[in-house]
Symmetry: C2
Subunit: 310 residues, 2 copies
């Protein structure tokens, strides 16, 4: 039931209406791993630079995340600067320094090869495909991508899409990938590209999952869309990592269950929303570092009530 995530570990400079932080530990793999760690064992493959200290690594290991696959390279870690001052729903990227990430060549420790759940976070689809081909024992493969790969690396991305049980992207990315403004038609076109299911994240409005004709390993699955709400929040301190935290909660819950039934998929959509809602309550990964399972289950109950008819 271990989840292997391959993706970025980064340092972020973020400004939002609530303030500003510099060199805050971030990156898709970090948010995903912390969120998933409350549900299942998590293993990380990523590259970091000399600015990534033992204290940074402890943020992951304190949550039980296996960092054997964390490659330490000479130079600086990936740095990202973004602002949410204009729009809390979409980051404005101010600066990106790939640094050690530029030559990232994921190496999979032998100890990781038995991971049953593989998450390909948003990185070059060539690397996503390479990792996927080496993980022959993975019984479920999910992934993320972004506008840059959709627009300029479509052929490489197509290879990855054919391998996915679930693709998790946001509205804009889904519409861009399908070149279709209507979300339902876009989902049909994306699923025709290969993924067995598509989870479209709507930020403050929740997420919707769409399903193709192909089942997950012969298990029963849904055919109609499913929509999970998001909690209306008084304070969105920092939206960074909300989508990756959603993916971590979603996939972590699935990995914690004996089988992927429709009921499990639906509950996983809710747990995704739950972890996303925690992530945005503080800057960076702060809130994801010290949750309890009780807090998570209380919020799950709140999410359930939010749209539940008697």
């Amino acid at each position: 039931m271990a989840i292997l995530v391959v993706g970025s570990v980064a340092f972020d400079n973020v400004e939002t209406p609530h303030g500003k932080v510099d060199n805050c530990l971030g990156g898709a793999a970090t948010y995903f791993a912390l969120a998933a760690s409350y549900f299942a064992p998590v293993r990380v493959i990523a590259v970091v630079g000399e600015d990534f200290t033992a204290e940074h690594e402890a943020v992951l290991t304190r949550r039980g995340v296996d960092t054997l696959g964390l490659e330490h390279a000479p130079g600086r870690s990936f740095h990202w600067s973004g602002s949410y001052l204009k729009n809390l729903n979409e980051a404005q990227t101010l600066n990106t320094e790939l640094n050690v990430f530029e030559r990232f060549a994921p190496r999979i420790p032998a100890e990781y090869l038995d991971s049953e759940y593989l998450f390909l976070a948003n990185i070059d689809p060539v690397l996503q495909a390479r990792v996927r081909s080496q993980m022959q024992k993975a019984k479920m493969v999910c992934g993320d991508t972004m506008n840059y790969w959709i627009r300029d690396h479509a052929a490489n991305l197509a290879v990855v899409l054919r391998e996915l049980d679930a693709l998790l992207i946001n509205d804009t990315e889904a519409r861009m990938l399908a070149n279709e403004p209507n979300l339902v038609r876009a989902a049909e076109k994306v699923i025709a590209m290969g993924p067995k299911s598509l989870v479209v994240k709507h930020g403050e409005y929740g997420a919707t999952s769409f399903f193709g004709q192909h089942s997950f390993n012969g298990r029963p699955h849904l055919t109609t869309p499913f929509r999970a709400p998001a909690l209306p929040l008084t304070d969105v301190v920092d939206p960074t990592g909300a989508g990756d935290s959603f993916a971590g909660g979603f996939y972590g819950y699935i990995a914690s269950q004996p089988a992927l039934t429709p009921a499990v998929f639906k509950a996983a959509m809710f747990y995704g929303g739950v972890m996303g809602s925690f992530a945005v309550e503080r800057f960076g990964t702060e809130r994801l570092q010290s949750l309890t399972r009780e807090e998570i289950d209380q919020r799950f109950a709140t999410f359930r009530e939010l749209s539940h008819l008697e």
Copy 2:
């Protein structure tokens, strides 16, 4: 259990990616009345011009809508032209001709004074307040407004807001009314202006209701927000009137029930979404003219399934 709606009856020219229609019967009161007519008796107060024929009136009366309050004035009816070519979620107004609507002075027939449910559709808040003050037997009052009244007629609108059990507006209007980008804080500020509850419509993402400290006529009420989903639709042919149809389904269902319990309010949010989803399937009010209660309840079941955890 009769609902009285005061608002606009209009002719619309609408263009969407699915085509173009001219002089299509529309207006907030029309959409509201047709949607509500599947649940409760509806009475309309509005003004129309000489271009409004017996056939137009029959669209309402065939659905059992009482048109005694429909004033026929010399001149042309209110005409609106809008385009959804750039954005299906927000109409671009190309032209507005108020015509007979410019001097609309709602007159309430004596036969309407016993209406228990009053809906103040989007018209000048001075007229909304005047109607409300004459309807002393109304046990529930709901209303709508728009950016123009919020921005330029705030003092008049404030009078109306104090009278409302529920204000139904969209995200942009709620944020504008409260001058606050965060939706939860905006809702708190709007409720502090007087409405006992606020229903914020999110278009394709559903709707969220927020509640104040004051109860509805001493009945039990909700204190935490409630979110109803919207159905992901393959074809949104014409979004015009979706919000008014939501209001009609929402309020019609409430008026059909013996008491306004939290369970009724929640189900009403779902019925609002159901009627909105039908409205957008065809140009104008076409789809709302010939539904069956069975189709409505089938779709209600679909909405329920859409976000329902086992």
